[in-house]
Symmetry: C2
Subunit: 528 residues, 2 copies
């Protein structure tokens, strides 16, 4: 009797494809079968067809604007870019010793960091799946290094839990999981679960909970080598006479729950914060600098756009040279890619359509504060063995992030000493920069008392006061209803930037938005 | 009415200490109060007092032996070291193009890797709390870079689950947690839990489970933006017209449980595999090389110890120069630090005490296989966006680890294509090296079909066949009963190495064991 002919399994199918057509075809098939995960970015944009000398004016030389300029010029367009600042990059920005920054309201800060230290007030980390950013880094030679988002030896801190004593993340992580696993294991044979889960699956569930929760052989989470193997020891394993480890005591369930420190346990679980993450070596603006090198000849710096008017033949932009206030100039082009934040565009005279104008006028920009603090000693590494990663706290600073570079170096380093948003950031925004820094120091010293002896200098960026964006990222009044109105080409003008994406505040959103916008613009030009 | 005088909280106490005595005193107080976590290694060893010209013979120039030689010479001893190999390092070993390696049985491999590529057959990663290793790296100028142990985009793979299709780790991680959280949330009001957890804590538990499991507002784990925000999307968030993400479908609980892929969910939770981890830039033997530079003048290479005899005045070691087989020489010293693995020492004539001899004779060495595979294209990065981290599988290769260096580089790279131990490794050990490599390729191609087109060369190290250790690490017959017998100084001889620690197979265990051994030896010499 012959075996029945079964449909091939996925693996058999892949094997056949591999045999017949080679591994590359097999990989294509894997992608189709859902083994590989596609991204919205599938490689360098292809703008095929001749634009026949069409001209494009790009407003803003942040990442969205520079990508548009770079790719449109490569496709045959004649491109010009207007930029408010004296350099490109927008929110992709790094501050180093000697830099000066004047915020709205006039307060000026001069950064006093030691040579080699830096601080990223804006984007500071790149997820592994932000393929467009990563691809531009590769194409433009921007060197990347790992950003250590996850550090089990960093702290979780609450002013109202454990007498304000910070706990190592591994303790809360191990204890929460252990207690949850123990609780569930105790009820798998109870009525409700018996109905939801088959007997076979209940046995597997118990086995999995033991491993997941580091439970002992009787399914308890308690002082044990298995629990300490995750949370840490009273005396760590060593060598020689006193080598034998001594376990420590887990926190009880109630203390863990009431501490609310479990709120932070998923901080490195979301797609955008899972390991691995990356950062450009030397500062985030290495990306901006690399793009600027590509399109510098197209950019007119120090210009403020005051009007944007389109008609049936083209777009006219009126702008002021910031070094000659009062007098305006005009540029005209066939098309315009506008990457100005809507917080800025809302102050420009324009004749854009009603639906788009409505979005521009109703989008508000998130408030956010970041404070960079330089210390003359890397005490977080030397005293506390914290290499990279983030401490989370309920203090208004929200977090302290440790540098993911120059590990083990003797000497100075820069912490992200505050990164708050929303209501928590308002109390900082209202203060002059030096007081924001002082406050970040006071708060942070509750976690790291070494702050007091080792602080050298700081810089505080309140995003509502950053002149070229006046906020951190765009928040929609009603994204579901408004989104297509805002991304659609408005006669000869198309909008681009992080605000026109579903990755708000991420560089990837800005680039993907720009690539989509110029693809549609190009399609219009070539195919009418 | 005045406020009652309360005992200060821990935070208040720390604040007072800080005010009075400064931040450093405060940090000391934090350590005492359990905020900081001590390690068995508290800084460079201090061997105070004059050994008055005492001589020490160190057997073995692995990390334990070299640390002993370095520190004893610094303390005033006259030190000599005998080493079997032509270079130092022992199991701290890196293979590069051009290296030749002959295993027991005579099979020789010549490594054919491209310049710049390397493979660590032994230790390959350093936990953040292995303070002794990290401190020697700093003192000796060994540059460290992050080792990305945790990668949610690497795979979990079972030949018997999901038709053999690998799943991204983030999918199993999110789905297991989501289902566990949902199950527990459904029974928090049931009898058993009601008795174990107070009403207040049950409310917190529910709130925490929603966050921990990415549950929706009705406490369900199902297709949703919150679930996809961890496990991935059908269409990832993007920019422009098609920017809106489309969630994908979680796996159901039964599929997750029956896949047994949850076994790997704690792979990066233990103290020794938590993030962050490190590796020396350029290969693990950068540590061995740095130590060798310190003590090279003390080491006699290419020597095989054949006898170790001690009497009331000293220790005599008989050895063979491997380049003049058959003829033996002798060295005599006041004391001996023996770092030979017991697998090797068991073959040496010696007059050590009965209890120690018993440990030497009953310790067996773990079996382990590692295979390094070079490919001419980094397809795991280019096609699959896997940067560092580890794929786990139930195939006999156990895992595939991706290099934590040269990310995004175009061109070749080396994978750890198999790392198995125990029973799983035996089928590899029995094969000649080229067949081990072929088998690792066959298995690995089930996960990465690109193996077939891009393999260039490999090297396979079966630790039972490594001449200078004949195994991977020491396993005790009865550690609880035997340990103190083996670490105790045996008249004028003291043992050191990973096998005499509670960190077996880790470099930290070897160093801590050595530091403890020489401290006791020194105490004997100075204080009698």
């Amino acid at each position: 009797m012959s075996e029945p002919q079964l449909a091939p399994t996925r693996r058999q199918l892949l094997g056949m494809i591999g045999t017949v057509a080679g591994a590359s075809a097999m990989y294509q098939a894997m992608a189709m079968l859902g083994v590989a995960h596609a991204s919205p970015y599938t490689g360098p944009v292809r703008l095929e067809g001749d634009p026949q000398g069409a001209t494009v004016l790009v407003l803003g030389a942040g990442l969205a604007g520079m990508v548009a300029a770079m790719e449109l010029r490569a496709a045959g367009y004649s491109v010009q870019v207007l930029e408010y600042r004296e350099k490109a990059g927008g929110r992709c920005w790094t501050l180093r010793g000697g830099d000066r920054y004047t915020e709205l309201g006039g307060a000026e800060q001069e950064v006093a960091f030691t040579e080699g230290n830096y601080f990223n007030p804006g984007p500071w980390r790149i997820p592994y799946h932000h393929h467009a950013v990563l691809d531009y880094c590769q194409r433009l030679g921007v060197e990347l290094e790992p950003f250590l988002q996850d550090n089990r030896n960093a702290y979780l801190h609450s002013t109202t839990a454990f007498d304000g004593t910070p706990r190592r993340q591994r303790e809360i992580s191990a204890d929460y999981r252990g207690h949850v696993a123990e609780l569930l294991s105790k009820v798998t044979d109870q009525g409700a679960l018996e109905q939801m889960v088959s007997a076979e699956d209940r046995a597997l569930l118990l086995e999995s909970l033991r491993s997941f929760g580091a439970l002992d052989s009787e399914m308890r989470y308690q002082r044990s080598s298995s629990a300490s193997g995750r949370r840490g020891y009273e005396r760590a394993p060593g060598g020689g006479v006193e080598g034998e480890p001594i376990p420590n005591d887990p926190l009880d369930l109630s203390s863990v729950l009431q501490s609310r420190l479990w709120q932070h346990l998923s901080a490195s679980d979301s797609m955008n914060t899972q390991m691995p993450m990356f950062q450009p070596r030397g500062g985030m603006d290495m990306i901006a600098q690399a793009m600027q090198r590509e399109v510098e000849d197209l950019i007119r710096f120090n210009t403020r756009v005051v009007a944007l008017e389109q008609d049936d033949e083209g777009v006219t932009v009126t702008f002021e040279d910031r070094r000659s206030p009062g007098s305006t100039e005009q540029l005209r082009a066939d098309y315009c890619v506008c990457t100005l934040p809507f917080s800025v565009l809302g102050q420009v005279d324009h004749n854009l359509s009603g639906p788009l104008s409505n979005v521009i006028d109703t989008m508000h920009y998130a408030s956010s504060i970041k404070v960079g603090l330089e210390f003359d000693r890397r005490f977080w590494e030397e005293d506390e063995q914290i290499f990279g990663g983030i401490t989370y706290t309920d203090l208004p600073i929200s977090m302290i992030s440790y540098p993911s570079n120059d590990y083990f170096r003797r000497g100075s380093g820069v912490l992200l000493g505050a990164y708050s948003w929303g209501a928590t950031s308002y109390q900082f925004n209202a203060l002059p920069p030096e007081d924001r820094i002082a406050r970040a120091l006071d708060y942070g010293a509750q976690i790291h008392p070494q702050y007091r002896d080792h602080f050298t200098s700081g810089v505080a960026v309140a995003w509502h006061r950053v002149p070229w964006v006046m906020g951190c990222y765009g928040i929609w009044q009603d994204k579901a209803a408004q989104y297509q109105d805002a991304v659609a080409m408005d006669r000869r003008v198309v909008m681009a930037g992080e605000h026109l994406s579903y990755l708000p505040a991420w560089m990837e959103g800005a680039i993907l938005s720009s690539l989509d916008a110029i693809s549609r613009l190009h399609d219009r030009v070539v195919n009418g």
